[in-house]
């Protein structure tokens, strides 16, 4: 006989794990966009300064 409680807990564990990894992916996406915008805004000025111009 199928142990419904065990199956449900495995399913819930998978959802929790997927949400955790989703949170990491979401942070990565936000950081990529955020740092990208920062790079566009400040990048040329920083590179100019590093070049000693």
């Amino acid at each position: 006989m199928v142990d419904l409680a065990a199956v449900t807990s495995i399913g819930a564990g998978s959802v929790d794990a997927a949400m955790l990894i989703g949170a990491v992916l979401l942070e990565a996406a936000i950081l990529y966009v955020g740092y990208g915008a920062l790079e566009q805004a400040l990048g040329p000025r920083v590179v100019k300064r590093l070049r000693g111009e």
Partner: protein, 341 residues
Amino acid sequence: MEILGLGLGMVLLFVGFGVLIGVLFGFFGMGGSFLVTPALLVMGYPTRVAVGSGLAFVFGTSVIATLKHRDMGQVDYKLGVLMIAGTTAGIEVGKEIVIHLESLGMAGSIISVTYVVLLGGIGAFVTYEALKGGGDGGIDHDTADAEADVDDIPDIAKKIQSYRVPPMISLRGGVSVSLWMILGVAFATGLLSGFLGVGGGFIRMPALFYLIGVPVPIAVGTDLFEIVFSGGLGSFLYALDGGVDLSIVLPLLAGSAFGARVGSAATSIVDEEEIKVYFGLMLLGGALAVAVREVGNVYNIDVLNTVSLVLILGSALLVSGAVVYSSITALREESRSSSPA
């Protein structure tokens, strides 16, 4: 003040550590779990959490670094998918070998010795090739979209490319290799990865360059693309057992996202030969660190664990510092040579 249940000092430490790893990851396409997991273990986190959080961090960083490399046209998706297929099969076989060795009670010592020999061997090889200069391994980082110069393709890769067993696969950088050779290399790197229980960036990136012959920037970008999948799957499996701690992963990722941008951007600025020496030395430092840790474990000398961590962190700090320093120097030289006399 507490953020995510951690003190501010600890959060800043993780962010700083993340920047350091991000630079290496963005530049070389490796160095994630190799650095994070031992550091978390020495900090007292349980093995499951250290490995699981390390993998989740590697997953997040590889997503960011891959997107950045994609922007620069340095990801070969076809090669990446073939590598994933071959590597997955290799990992399974590697895992089976470990299980067999475990049943014989020989797994620990054989894996440790193989790890040290492989890490040290690749480190010595890369350092030798870089010091030799001008010959094999001399592809510049900025040749991503150009066809690879025949003189720049390593001899072993030329040999592998000469086996024209159909179907032939055209890769970025004007390289054409037999499908079976790609799958063979992917299987071998996967086997080592599964056998050693590591992500495998330090094996795969040199393999893509030295064995298949794709230019270094594409080897790095494609390796990172593959790590997105292996890191994602690995961290999901650990998260099922509660092995992923977001209070570790989130601040590390905040730092590494920045570092990965710096490291990825540096790939199109820095003269590779200069950095390859440091890369090789970092692998040698890593091999020494693993050897020291194993001796500590065998003879129960706790202080050797700390020595091992200092060796790893010292090597990482040295190399990421060299990447940043070389980038600034290259930018200054470029500015000087382009300004009118």
